[in-house]
């Protein structure tokens, strides 16, 4: 290969690839954002750099999203404060999974083999609807309050240290859900962005994002198919230099007992459902 040909081919390749990447980013941020949410330290958490990457000077915020699982197990209940996300929400039923492209026919007659075949299907990319401080969060709060009130109403022997610790932990869990847990819930999924936007029109409360769902046959033996919201494709949001001063000091660990640094941050999602940080300020 002649050197001039190599140079030309290389330069064209570099220029074209960068043009596509930068053009895509510009296209995403052009025009009116498809959603613009005012989030707080409850929904955005500083990303903790992994051990070998401590020299990374970049600052990234992690979007803390959740799903509403009505039949919450005891383990899930006590892990609330650890910011767990994902899970199998009630709305991700068999009909919804079929609409997302998953084959649920094998579950017509439920068996262990049918469950394995169903769950063998790998995650698919879908569009997820994020709801901020809406009905899903209110329901989650209500469920926690019911559970805590029910537990606290049970008789206990004064001086029983284990019982007292447990009651203290229950109150902390309710406090956590009331004032510290994320209010951002995945409330729906689909493959048609226009149809989802028509259903969820409030752009300050609902954002459409890319994510993945995977099959999960809930309740072995019941034959009910369901899915799990596996992840949100872009859950890490880069902090540009102009906002670094505001967000550099916020805590990375969300389950630390110390009070968190309060802040408000506006996040927008563009034409390609990719987010960016618009502004941020300490409260």
């Amino acid at each position: 290969m002649k050197r001039s040909h190599t140079r030309l081919a290389g330069l064209v390749l570099l220029a074209l690839t960068n043009a596509i990447a930068l053009g895509g980013a510009l296209w995403n941020r052009s025009g009116e954002p498809q959603a613009r949410m005012r989030l707080t330290e409850r929904e955005l958490q500083r990303f903790e750099p992994w051990y070998g990457n401590r020299e990374n000077s970049g600052l990234t915020l992690r979007l803390r999203w959740r799903t509403l699982v009505e039949e919450r197990t005891a383990a899930d209940f006590y892990s609330l404060r650890y910011g767990s996300s994902g899970g199998a929400p009630g709305w991700l039923d068999r009909a919804k999974m079929e609409s997302l492209g998953f084959d649920t026919s094998m579950l017509a007659a439920y068996s262990e083999r049918a469950r394995k075949r169903y769950e063998k299907q790998l995650p698919r990319e879908v569009l997820l609807v994020l709801e901020l401080d809406g009905a899903a969060y209110r329901r989650a709060l209500e469920l926690t309050r019911e559970r805590v009130d029910g537990e606290l109403a049970k008789p206990f022997i004064a001086g029983d240290r284990a019982a007292e610790e447990r009651r203290k932990s229950l109150r902390e869990t309710l406090d956590w859900e009331t004032s510290r847990s994320s209010r951002l819930f995945v409330v729906d999924a689909g493959t048609d962005a226009d149809a989802l936007r028509a259903k969820y029109q409030d752009r300050a409360r609902y954002a459409i994002v890319r994510g993945e769902a995977r099959p999960w046959a809930a309740g072995a033996g019941s034959g009910r198919a369901a899915g799990i919201v596996d992840s949100v494709s872009v859950a890490s949001i880069n902090v540009p230099l102009r906002l670094r001063g505001v967000l550099a000091g916020v805590q990375a660990l969300d389950y630390a007992p110390a009070p968190r640094t309060p802040f408000d941050a506006t996040v927008a999602w563009g034409r390609r459902f990719e987010p960016w940080l618009v502004e941020a300020a300490r409260r």
Partner: protein, 355 residues
């Protein structure tokens, strides 16, 4: 014959050296004696060729120089990897302290600058060692360029990024005769083809590794490249394609022969594992046969290694728990002896047939 690359020139120089040694031996044994004018003509021709190669490619002219070259190759390989890692961590250390425009500017300047610098170094470096260093840094800068743009602008991860990375690595590999960059390009291509294969079933591309069968089309494609594209000007390139093709075939088969549940095939796990075990023996044996037939030592060696791995994996499954350890290892040793006898026999038959 004019050589177009250092490896081609080195191969010809080695052949000339071997020819001279053999000619000297034949003359000593009285089998062949060249007339003085013939000898002079051959020596002049070879001398001219070697001098030309030395000027253009700085080839190794004797065994000592060749040994030193091996050390230099190892040093340049390690240096290339370390320099690429250094560039990566250097950017990571400071990028957060720069405004977005400066971040993008530095990434673009690094990608374009190191590419042009590689071409400049190549024009002034007949040995190729410094070109390898520069090319590896250029590739690392391009990977960093696209990966960091994704991070700066919160772009959704895409398998499509693998394609320009593969194209860039292959461009540098072919332009600068660099096997390290060829391997990098092939790896990117294998990942891209496997991810695309996975998405045909509807899955999200990042999960392509969870179904090892996704690698099979990539294995076939890599195997066919040196068959369909003439690589005589690039010694060793065809072998690298074949090695990666065989690895893309054997490793998934090895995984599936032990974990049938992650196969696409809708059947009992034990049946899937059994089928892939049989396939493993068949394709590794086939690779040895084909490699011996087509004079591809890399195919023979890779096939042999995996044939033995498949065999020992089965031995472990069958006998590790039930046999005393001394007997288990004795069986393995006897199997190795048996394999030696089989290959000796095959070799004798082949030599006889050739004779």
């Amino acid at each position: 014959m004019s050589a177009s690359s250092r490896s081609e020139a080195q191969q010809r120089a080695d052949e000339i050296r071997a020819f001279r040694a053999e000619l000297e031996r034949l003359e000593r044994e009285g089998v062949l004696v060249l007339a003085p004018e013939q000898r002079r003509a051959v020596e002049a021709h070879h001398g001219e060729l070697l001098a030309g190669y030395a000027r253009a490619f700085d080839i190794d002219r004797d065994a000592e120089a060749k040994q030193l070259s091996l050390g230099m190759r190892v040093a340049s390989f390690l240096g290339a990897l370390a320099l690429a890692a250094s560039v990566f961590f250097l950017f990571y250390q400071f990028w957060g302290l720069l405004p977005t425009a400066a971040q993008v500017g530095i990434l673009l300047a690094a990608a374009f600058g190191t590419f042009l610098a590689t071409l400049l170094v190549q024009a002034r470096d007949p040995t190729g060692y410094f070109t390898k260093l520069a090319a590896m840094v250029a590739f690392a800068c391009f990977v960093l360029n696209i990966a960091m743009l994704g991070q700066i602008f919160d772009i959704t991860p895409s398998d499509k990024a693998l394609l320009p990375w593969a194209a860039f690595a292959l461009l540098l590999a072919y332009a600068c005769d660099l096997r390290l960059l060829l391997a990098a390009g092939i790896l990117c291509l294998i990942a891209f083809i496997s991810a695309r294969t996975g998405t045909w079933s509807g899955m999200y591309w990042l999960y392509f590794g969870e179904r090892p069968e996704n690698f099979f089309p990539a294995a076939v494609a890599m195997f066919l490249v040196p068959q369909l594209v003439d690589h005589r000007r690039y010694p060793g390139f065809g072998a690298i394609y074949r090695v990666f093709a065989l690895l893309s075939l054997f490793l998934p088969v090895l995984v599936l022969s032990n974990w049938g549940e992650i196969s696409y095939i809708d059947a009992d796990d034990k049946i899937i594992e059994g089928a892939y075990q049989v396939l493993g023996f068949a394709v590794s044996g086939g690779a040895v046969w084909l490699g011996a037939k087509r004079h591809w030592p890399e195919a023979v060696n890779t096939g042999l290694v995996f044939f033995v791995v498949f065999l020992y994996t089965k031995f472990y499954d069958w006998w590790w728990e039930i046999m005393p350890k001394w007997l288990f290892f004795l069986v393995i040793a006897l199997t190795a002896v048996l394999l030696l006898l089989v290959f000796k026999r095959v070799r004798t038959v082949r030599v006889g047939a050739a004779g």
